[in-house]
Symmetry: C2
DNA sequence: AATCATGGTAAGCCATGACTAACGGTAAGT
DNA sequence: ACTTACCGTTAGTCATGGCTTACCATGATT
């Protein structure tokens, strides 16, 4: 897992934007439609849609069509990419525990 | 720990750039001077210096003056900021283990 | 079928950021 | 003291990315 890994890059890039972190947290708290996400925010609906595309490609969220609506919910694959990457920089005693977490996650 | 947290933003922004991830990994593998980092890379020394400033402000690396040289090494504070943030999105069985890791890390 | 609701896409504008060249500043060597 | 080595900063250029407006496609409703 090196610095040029594309899925890792997508995940970091996606979460580097405050608006996308906001949307990501909202979706993590409760699955949501695009219109609902745009309703309480100062940006337009197309802007939200573009951000969701970035989050989707980073596998941080996933969309499920439901009628004309699309319900967005969390996708842990992107989170896992970042977590695995960060784990390699943990050493000594901490490394042992993070490795255990990583092992348990891999089981699911 | 919300989406507008400034130290979190700094860490994500710093690692969103491939060149900075490259430098970060090199420093993590072995503490290094600025000139040494620039030597094997296609970018100029000032560019490396600017990237290191971003990594420093994100508390991902730290610099220690040694004569005219400055030796850069890993700073885990920035990593911890991201890790803590990601942990809140882990739930159920996984949440228990990540919480345990978080507790052990806090002890150090 | 006609309309409405929902949301993805395209074009264009503007702000941010990554890079180089040039400069300045400090520590070591002769 | 002068030179050399090492590094941070500034000014300026160019590319990238986020935003809005406008448009198009699809599913539900009457």
């Amino acid at each position: 897992m090196a610095y040029h890994d594309s899925s890792l890059h997508a995940a970091f890039t996606a979460l580097a934007d405050p608006t996308r972190r906001d949307l990501f947290e909202a979706i993590a708290a409760r699955p949501c439609s695009v219109a609902a996400l745009a309703a309480n925010r100062p940006i337009s609906r197309p802007a939200v849609s573009q951000h969701l595309k970035v989050l989707r490609e980073a596998r941080l969220v996933k969309a499920e069509p439901q009628g004309t609506k699309r319900i967005y919910s969390l996708d842990t694959a992107g989170l896992q990419a970042i977590r695995s990457y960060l784990d390699q920089f943990w050493t000594d005693a901490l490394g042992a525990y993070s490795a255990e977490v990583h092992r348990r996650i891999s089981e699911t």
